[in-house]
């Protein structure tokens, strides 16, 4: 009897063991991450991975507005100088320690220490954005930030993916003054990072989700059903596609429009896509002897059938947008819809007025971003029909980036990475060329309006400023924004719950896997 009992127990244990299958999601990553230190040694893949491990006080919602994450609520003082964050109770770090204001203080002191080399220090030390003059913790669940002057971008800057979402870390993340590994409060904890091969994220069993019914961008309820996520580094797109087809990976998160069309037709594979806030544009050097004449720049703008170019470049996934205010932004209104229009006759009249005699204009492109090369080819062909002689020069990306930074170009096809607020988008192109040659738009009025938009937090007033900026940009033509990028992912059909969104980074806590 005793033996039978033991046998039955053993058998059931074996069966239970067999019944449990680890729920794993395998995702292809097109390049390895740079480090596990959020917002420090980073790139877009590093940000995407770190935002699964750490959480900030606030985060972007689905519509790219900012909402609380580790904070229960946020109070802003009437003078706009003090931000009080009340922390959620019961949140734990991945080492089991509770989240208190002490860790928030430690994290922010570390971020604000120049030795940390936090990418976003300039956004908070007065160099480029707000200036934090004090961070205080009046009680274990309250943190108060004090700024030197009101800043409408403070919460947005705090949430930026490139800042690691200002993720709050446990002090044990650093040992003897050296970065060890992130101990955050996110739904996943770091398993193993095998450089050049894979990154394993493990479900954090004690994760305390927010009370919302479901996820909302980088905030909301972020609980997950996955036990493990393996992010496999596969730099070659053909190998990544082969891996998806052979089910070696379940998901590709960076698919070109052309590949998406092919994959969509493959049985067992589905596509998820969303417009993002990145901007693909043709830049002008407004100090170039030929292009300093605004009529030349306008002529090029009118010679391009932007709608047709964008439809061809994106297989119809994006629509043309001549504004720096992204199509998906809540600030994109009918005013921002007003672009250049395709008018070859007007282009030819402007060229004649400017005295253009067919001199060659060098247009720099690269093949790291195939859409930029293709954009250049289309622009060259269309401009030629209006008598404009664009010559393409293809550069390696590092070389082109240097030419961009130094302003050493006549025209350039350029992919601006996503800025999640129109003020940041305008800031990427507007400024003093003598100090920052990469800025293509050096208009005193525009600089003034931009400063106001950075300070202002009232949405209606910000809208008015963005409208003015857009209308002036259309007149000055320092660049031609063509369209906002697309975030396209390809998934096996058993991968459920994944949704692309305007922030072109995956949120894998939303995903469940139901293999048959």
């Amino acid at each position: 009897m005793k033996k039978a009992f033991i046998l039955a127990g053993g058998l059931s244990a074996v069966l239970m063991g067999n019944a449990y299958a680890e729920n794993v999601l395998n995702v292809a990553l097109n390049a390895d991450i740079r480090s596990t230190d959020p917002g420090v040694n980073r790139d877009t893949n590093s940000d995407a991975v770190m935002l699964h491990l750490t959480e900030g006080l606030v985060a972007f919602r689905e519509d790219a507005t900012v909402g609380p994450l580790l904070a229960k609520d946020i109070q802003v003082s009437e003078d706009g100088l003090r931000y009080t964050f009340h922390l959620r109770d019961g949140v734990k770090f991945q080492n089991g320690a509770p989240l208190t204001s002490a860790e928030v203080l430690w994290t922010w002191h570390r971020y604000l220490d120049p030795k940390t080399q936090w990418r976003c220090l300039g956004e908070f030390d007065g160099h480029g954005g707000a200036k934090i003059v004090d961070v205080a913790a009046p009680d274990p669940l309250t943190v108060v930030f004090t700024l030197d002057k009101p800043n409408g971008m403070f919460l947005t800057s705090t949430s930026l993916p490139e800042c690691g979402g200002s993720g709050i870390l446990h002090p044990d993340s650093v040992v003897d003054g050296k970065w060890k590994a992130p101990i955050g409060t996110g739904p996943f904890k770091l398993g193993e990072w095998k450089t050049g091969q894979y990154i394993d994220l493990l479900r954090f069993a004690d994760y305390k989700p927010r009370d919302e019914a479901g996820p909302d961008g980088y905030t909301g309820n972020k609980s997950t059903t996955l036990d493990r996520v393996r992010l496999l580094v596969i730099p070659d797109p053909a190998a990544a596609k082969a891996a998806l087809l052979s089910k070696n990976v379940d998901m590709l998160i960076d698919v070109t429009p052309l590949d998406s069309q092919e994959l969509a037709a493959t049985p067992g594979v589905k596509i998820s896509s969303s417009g993002t806030m990145s901007v693909n544009a043709l830049l002008f050097q407004t100090r170039d002897p030929l292009l300093k004449d605004v009529r030349m720049r306008q002529a090029i703008a009118y010679s391009l059938d932007t709608t047709q170019i964008v439809a061809a470049l994106t297989n119809g996934l994006s629509k043309a947008n001549n504004s720096m205010v992204a199509s998906g932004s809540k600030y994109h209104t009918a005013v921002e819809d007003q672009g250049y229009g395709f008018d070859p006759t007007k282009a030819q009249r402007l060229l004649s007025e400017a005295g253009y005699k067919g001199q060659p204009i060098k247009l720099l492109v690269n093949k790291r971003y195939p859409s930029i090369f293709d954009m250049g080819v289309f622009a060259q062909a269309m401009a030629k029909a209006s008598g404009i002689n664009l010559e393409l020069e293809t550069l390696e990306w590092g070389t082109q980036l240097e030419r961009y930074q130094t302003g050493n170009f006549q025209m350039m096809g350029f992919p601006y990475s996503e800025r999640l607020d129109p003020a940041l988008s305008f800031d990427s192109v507007t400024g003093d060329k003598d100090k920052e040659p990469r800025k293509v738009w050096d208009n005193p009025d525009a600089k003034q309006w931009l400063q106001e938009a950075m300070r202002e937090s009232d949405p209606a007033k910000r809208q008015a400023l963005f409208d003015k900026l857009h209308q002036q940009m259309i007149k000055d033509v320092p660049l031609i924004p063509l369209y906002n990028g697309n975030s396209i992912s390809a998934l096996r059909d058993y991968v459920q719950g994944f949704r692309s969104w305007p922030v072109s980074k995956p949120r894998l806590w939303t995903v469940s896997v139901r293999r048959t």
């Binding site: 292809a28 390049a31 390895d32 740079r34 480090s35 040694n41 790139d43 120049p114 080399q117 990418r119 220090l121 300039g122 160099h127 480029g128 490139e162 095998k194 450089t195 050049g196 091969q197 894979y198 496999l232 580094v233 596969i234 730099p235 070659d236 053909a238 190998a239 990544a240 082969a242 891996a243 087809l245 052979s246 070696n248 990976v249 390696e396 990306w397 590092g398 070389t399 980036l401 240097e402 030419r403 961009y404 930074q405 350029f414 992919p415 601006y416 990475s417 990427s428 100090k435 920052e436 990469r438």
Partner: protein, 313 residues
């Protein structure tokens, strides 16, 4: 022998110094700024300045070279600009992946190609010879990435026998590791078969025309004994040189295959380092590659007298 080895290794030192100087200078002549590549299009002047200072790029080039050279002499190849990892363990880790695949592939290729070449030479102008030459020419003409993709498609996607991406170290799980390297090894073996076969055949044809072979046959030795005992050793010597060159070339990185099969080898590391302008990693890789070339050539020189007694060290 020991004197010869130490002389050759001593001769490698100026080569390594010259190479390190050239690599240091050339990579910095290439446009592109590592700090800028790190920060991307969001780089403002202040952040750029801070990052350059943190990476030591604000120092003059001679100062940068002296700092690096001094560290190299003490066995420290610095830290990666991209990931901040120590360069020496990083490149050794990646090198062992490439080296394992290359050594097995070249060995397999040699084991197949040398007898095939010898056999084709023995049956010169026969249909067998024609088949061997045609196959070798075909393999020589196939780009490695194409063959790799074809094998991936066939055995990975269509048949599903082997994994398409990933890598497992032999130390962790030998059988699983084998499944990941089969396709790269087969691809590389097939690609290298062509050149070695043709070289082995050409050498064997020359040797088989020599008088001592006629003499051996006149003595009444069997064709097998003539071929394997007398022709092979002499015919193999020039092929050995070619194998050495192939080995040196492949050990410096099989970047294309590593990309196709997602292998974390030294070739891919070098390509990534070039794109990211990761100077310390690139300098470290090229130093290692130069050193490997020197060693492989030394090894070939040491082995040569075993096959051709006329050569003395």
């Amino acid at each position: 022998m020991m004197r010869f080895i130490s002389q050759r290794l001593a001769m490698a030192l100026p080569t390594l110094l010259l190479i390190s100087l050239m690599v240091f200078a050339i990579i910095r002549l290439v446009p592109g700024d590592p700090a800028l590549l790190m920060l991307g299009d969001m780089a403002d002047a202040h952040s750029l300045e801070v990052t350059r200072a943190a990476l030591g790029l604000d120092q003059s080039l001679p100062v940068q070279f002296l700092i690096w050279g001094k560290a190299v002499l003490s066995g420290d190849l610095g830290h990666s600009i991209t990931t901040n990892q120590a360069v020496l363990p990083l490149i050794l880790d990646r090198f062992q992946v490439s080296a394992g695949i290359v050594l097995v592939s070249v060995l397999l290729a040699a084991l197949i190609a040398v007898p095939a070449g010898l056999f084709a030479a023995w049956k010169q102008n026969s249909s067998l010879d024609f088949s061997v030459v045609a196959t070798a020419t075909l393999l020589l003409s196939i780009p490695s990435f194409w063959l790799g993709l074809l094998l991936l498609y066939g055995f990975g996607i269509k048949l599903g026998w082997l994994p398409v991406v990933g890598y497992v170290s032999f130390g962790d799980a030998p059988w699983q590791a084998l499944s990941y390297v089969v396709l790269p090894i087969v691809t590389l073996t097939l690609v290298e078969l062509g050149a070695i076969t043709r070289m082995a055949r050409a050498s064997a044809i020359e040797v088989l025309r020599l008088e001592y072979i006629t003499h051996a046959r006149a003595k009444g030795l069997s064709e097998g004994a003539v071929l394997w005992r007398h022709a092979l050793r002499n015919a193999f010597a020039p092929t050995l040189t070619l194998i050495g060159l192939i080995l040196g070339n492949l050990l410096s990185g099989i970047a294309v295959l590593e990309t196709v099969f997602t292998l974390p080898g030294i070739g891919r590391l070098m390509v990534d380092a070039i794109y990211a302008r990761d100077y310390p990693v690139l300098q470290g890789c090229l130093l290692l590659v130069t050193f490997v070339y020197v060693l492989v050539n030394l090894l070939v020189d040491l082995l040569y007298p075993l096959f051709d007694p006329r050569v003395k060290l």
